[in-house]
């Protein structure tokens, strides 16, 4: 909201108009009345400002008119019907879009959850995969007490059908 006066007006007349409009504080009104009591020119100005303002009562005023009101209400009712029809016709597409968005969000959330869990908790599966060669030959390992003997067997590719490609590569 702008505080800048829209247009400059002589201060006494501005005060007179505000006085006529009942917009002055009691103290300001008292000052204007004191000024009016001793200033014939201000009294004259006040009288003319008031008189010409009263002349505006000559302007036409539109009385409340039921016919015009009915025409307005009919126009609004037609607009409301259009609005309802528009909402209804847009509804299936909107519903499909809403379902699509929901499904998309669900998929995205599931994916994010899976990645987060995989990243934060590698879990037991990865460990199982790493231990698979040992598990597959567990019975043979249990027969041997010496680890050096096992390493020798490995060097001779006794476990060549092992799933551990790194071990095979090492031997090569």
């Amino acid at each position: 909201m702008s505080d800048e006066p829209a247009e400059a007006a002589p201060v006494p007349e501005e005060q007179l108009v505000a006085y006529l409009d009942g917009e002055l504080a009691p103290e300001e009104s008292r000052r204007v009345e004191e000024m009016l009591a001793s200033d014939a020119e201000a009294q004259e100005a006040l009288r003319w400002l008031d008189g010409t303002w009263e002349m505006l009562d000559r302007l036409d005023r539109q009385e409340a008119d039921e016919e015009t009101a009915r025409s307005t209400l009919e126009m609004i009712a037609a607009a409301a019907e259009e609005e309802v029809a528009r909402v209804r016709s847009a509804a299936p597409g909107r519903r499909a879009r809403r379902w699509g968005l929901a499904a998309g969000a669900l998929v995205a959330a599931s994916l994010a959850g899976f990645l987060a869990v995989s990243w934060l908790a590698p879990g037991a599966n990865r460990q199982l995969l790493e231990d698979l060669p040992v598990l597959e030959n567990l019975d043979a390992y249990l027969e041997v007490d010496d680890i050096e003997f096992l390493r020798e067997l490995n060097r001779q590719q006794v476990f060549a059908d092992s799933t551990d490609p790194d071990a095979a590569n090492e031997e090569n």
């Binding site: 909201m1 702008s2 505080d3 800048e4 006066p5 829209a6 247009e7 400059a8 007006a9 002589p10 007349e13 501005e14 007179l16 108009v17 505000a18 409009d21 917009e23 004259e44 009288r47 003319w48 400002l49 008189g51 010409t52 303002w53 002349m55 505006l56 000559r58 302007l59 036409d60 005023r61 539109q62 009385e63 409340a64 008119d65 039921e66 015009t68 009101a69 025409s71 307005t72 209400l73 126009m75 609004i76 607009a79 409301a80 609005e83």
Partner: protein
């Protein structure tokens, strides 16, 4: 617009038209009809004198009510209902006057509103000084002279005058509608009323002397 609970409560309790509008927000057709009946004439009156055309004023009034209807669900009582309504009316009228002024610029390159305002004021002064031919002082003529004097004000002065005269709104309410401070409205109205006096005082003086009422302030 953010409206505090205490402000909303104050306007809801103090203004029956705010309560009607809250019913409209809840889809009451009866309340909407009541508001149309209460305000349609008042809107047409202000808008007709603002835009200078009755048909356009009626169209704008319908547009205002359509905007009220369409915005009903977001209505919050942050002001008197009439202040809120005339703010919408002011926006609608400003848009209409702007687009009309653009059209006029295209049609008449030499036209400008300041000159037309000056011509209107000259016509008032001519009428008031007896220079018009076969001058007859009657009610119809006086109404036309007053209309011309109001029409000669600039748009902002005219709106402030109409809201003050017809709606009896305070400077603060008029300021809210026009997005100006109460002090700016005080200056605007003072200037407008001085211009009305300049236009109408000679008319009153010349018109009343023959009747011998001595209202001319000799």
């Amino acid at each position: 617009m953010v409206v505090s609970d205490s402000t909303a409560r104050r306007y809801t309790l103090g203004d029956p038209d705010v309560r009607l509008m809250l019913e409209v927000r809840d889809d009451s057709a009866t309340a909407f009809e009541e508001l149309v009946l209460r305000y349609q004439g008042r809107l047409i009156t202000v808008l007709e004198h603002l835009v200078g055309n009755r048909d356009l004023a009626e169209d704008l009034t319908q547009e205002v009510f359509l905007r009220v209807y369409r915005n009903r669900k977001t209505y919050l009582p942050g002001a008197k209902f009439s202040t809120w309504l005339f703010t919408i009316a002011n926006n609608a009228a400003s848009n209409a006057l702007r687009s009309r002024s653009r059209r006029r610029e295209v049609r008449l390159q030499t036209h400008d509103s300041a000159r037309s305002g000056a011509r209107a004021m000259e016509a008032v002064l001519a009428a008031s000084s007896g220079q018009m031919p076969a001058r007859q002082l009657d009610k119809a003529e006086m109404r036309d002279v007053v209309r011309m004097a109001v029409g000669a004000l600039n748009e902002r002065q005219r709106l402030a005058v109409l809201l003050s005269k017809f709606e009896e709104l305070s400077y603060a309410d008029i300021g809210e509608i026009m997005d100006l401070s109460p002090q700016a409205i005080k200056s605007l109205l003072a200037r407008a009323r001085c211009r009305l006096r300049e236009a109408l005082q000679p008319y009153l003086e010349h018109g009343e002397r023959p009747a011998g009422e001595g209202n001319g302030g000799d």
